[in-house]
Symmetry: C2
Subunit: 434 residues, 2 copies
């Protein structure tokens, strides 16, 4: 069997595939648990929040109680843009909460938001009809590793290094290089701009001012600004700053039911202007035929009634906030005396740890942690593509001194994991560079 | 906004998109029902079979009754190849029923089988590392319209015209041109061979001899033979001939839970040799992140116990067989005296009607039927790509005298729909060609 170049690209051992294999290996734990009980701080699984689980279970019970309705629900193909009631309720919620001028024609539902972004990246990048290579601009690297391998065409990601601002003795925050982003837009054909907000992996939330400037750039250069809002407002609402959600016709907002407890239903949501929704629906029809309905049917009444906002505000956000505070306070004491900083935890379910001047890189730190049954993600995975000057993002040293942890794991795993991270960091800082 | 060439290709108004819009329009019925009550004989929705619905509803009830289990089920991402228990049970079923040498490593589950075929077609077609264009070979056109737009690259589908054998005064059957298929394999780099069996749209089932020869060709030329088994054995089992299912390591078998009543869960299944499963899982991880679990969890115990075979044999197949027989006997009387033939209905939920010598083409027939609220699919959609001699499949006259009907619609719609088809055909045959 000979694969096409498309086949070669998607089966190459890179980023997400290594991570998936690693997670699968960890899932087989504790069969080979030589290093102690597993501390799973890798991966992106959301926490299981009892109050949230009860809501979804009760909703499924209600669907099941309606015999004919359940039959219709499971027995019919949805259309490729999603259930009409779901799209209408969602559009009404956005209109009511935020005043956005959107209707059901501005919403497309896909089998998870990952594939929606996959569609978008490829609709917008690679050679165009005039033979020009259009690239995707990431105004702030590091970004979500899940994008790294998504483009069908090679070398279509161009990024800007952030400004790093230290705060106090324990935190730092990234700021987008907006001048750099504009310079890229001026100098080459860009197909789309992509940011996650809150950002996976760093927990950064782009400020309202940054978003306003990016949206203005997007409008000026007629290039969609894809904003991956998987952790954001109004649901799941894992945002700890006052930053406001934003949409205008230059924005393609990506959302999901995954982080509000339904990753298994694969329900991704895109809010965008009509032509973009039409392009996405068309691609979804060709590639996937139809969108799954169960997640939509479970969540729709809560979206229609606005209860999903209460669930986000009163159950999801406080849960993560408490976990975050606990982890931060643990780290402050465990990391004392070492030049480790944590990115301002402004949202999402991750923390981004920067081991400034660590003599070993994050891959080696990852290996030492894994040997002690602590799973984390090495920071270099989150730096991909090229910078505007042509240098490779993977050659950038900063993310090679960072790791991402998922702080939503059970408390005992987070505590033990952080202690072992502190121990290994102390050992590494004590060592000479090899 | 400027789309890439990928974007231009997937948003072009062709085949499946026209059909989707038409179906959406029909779904809005009867708001503008000027032609009488809707007879929906288009689309591919399976029938709602009460016995089958009861089984899935009871399974969902069982999942829901296990509070912790339900929480785990909906609250966790599956891996990109599917649930381990589902893959194991399925492999065991195949081994036990058919003696196939397969294990869980030979199974990958995706969000519907449409996207699995999309992945496969693109992993196998287009330019390869040596710059050669690899094409996909369809040994028997007409084929499923859902493939028509799936390739990222242009002009990568090459097909063979079937031999048409008349049987009696009312039927005909397609036979694959295996010499033609081998000639293509000899003359150019082919990435994969694709057949649906039972065939959508014709209801043909490739004979065991045809499959054996195609599998031998696939093995000899080291090219996977993708066999889309969406309607086939062991489930949903909508097969009315004695044709046996077949798998060997040269085969990539595609299946689904859609036609056994769960289209909404988007559960596609691929059975193939390990390297192909690894390539598919990798592509699925990058594009879709994870596979939905609800369909897998609902169906797994029935696959483990073999009950899914009973459901297929005792509920699904008899239901469709009775519908088929009723439709065939109606057509025999309604079409009497006209040179209309129906493809041997050997499986699937469609019938393929050939209006031999009809002075109008199938698009015009479709329009006249639509004006009378009868939705069918025009045959030309199912003839796409090029023949081996370079001529376009869309220029072939035969499918332009054919329509596809879904005979699984409610009896009153099928009856009224067929009467109106007979009336319009009679009018058309009486007319002079324009």
């Amino acid at each position: 069997m000979t694969l096409s170049s498309f086949g070669d690209k998607f089966t190459r051992k890179t980023g997400i595939l290594e991570l998936m294999e690693d997670l699968a290996e960890a899932a087989a734990f504790p069969a080979d648990a030589s290093g102690g009980p597993l501390c799973m701080l890798g991966g992106g699984n959301p926490a299981r929040i009892p109050e949230v689980e009860r809501v979804w279970r009760s909703r499924m019970g209600a669907l099941l109680a309606d015999e004919a309705g359940f039959g219709r629900l499971v027995g019919a193909y949805d259309s490729a843009d999603g259930m009409s009631a779901f799209r209408s309720s969602l559009a009404s919620l956005f209109k009511k909460e935020y005043g956005w001028e959107v209707g059901p024609e501005n919403v497309c539902v896909t089998n998870g938001s990952q594939i929606a972004v996959w569609y978008l990246l490829n609709l917008l990048s690679g050679p165009d009809a005039k033979g020009r290579r259009r690239r995707i601009l990431f105004p702030l690297m590091p970004e979500y590793v899940g994008y790294a391998d998504q483009a069908v065409h090679e070398d279509v990601f161009v990024s800007c290094k952030p400004r790093i601002e230290l705060s106090g003795d324990f935190h730092f925050k990234y700021y987008a290089d907006l001048e750099g982003a504009e310079a890229v837009l001026r100098s080459e054909p860009i197909g789309g701009i992509l940011v996650s907000r809150p950002t996976n992996p760093s927990g950064n939330v782009l400020t309202d001012a940054e978003v306003a400037r990016l949206a203005a750039l997007a409008a000026r250069y007629d290039v969609p600004l894809i904003t991956d809002n998987a952790y954001g407002l109004p649901f799941p609402g894992i945002v700890f700053t006052e930053a406001a959600p934003y949409w205008d016709p230059s924005i393609v907002l990506s959302m999901s039911l995954s982080k509000i407890g339904l990753p298994s239903t694969r329900t991704g949501i895109i809010v965008a202007r009509k032509e973009i929704i039409a392009a996405l629906s068309a691609t979804n029809a060709i590639a996937s035929l139809a969108t799954g309905t169960i997640g939509q049917a479970i969540a729709e009444p809560l979206i229609a009634s606005g209860e999903i906002l209460d669930l986000s505000r009163n159950a999801v956000k406080p849960y993560y906030l408490a976990k975050r505070d606990k982890a931060l306070s643990l780290m402050r004491s465990l990391f004392a005396g070492m030049p480790i900083r944590v990115h301002q935890s402004e949202g999402a379910i991750f923390m981004w740890l920067w081991f400034d001047g660590l003599p070993i890189d994050s891959r080696e730190l990852y290996r030492r942690l894994k040997a002690r049954s602590v799973m984390v993600l090495s920071g270099d995975y989150f730096s991909f593509g090229s910078f505007a000057d042509g240098t490779s993002c993977s050659a950038w040293d900063h993310p090679r001194r960072c790791i991402r942890i998922n702080y939503s794991s059970p408390d005992d795993q987070v505590e033990r994991g952080l202690s072992i991270i502190a121990e290994e960091a102390r050992k590494a800082y004590g060592e000479k560079p090899r």
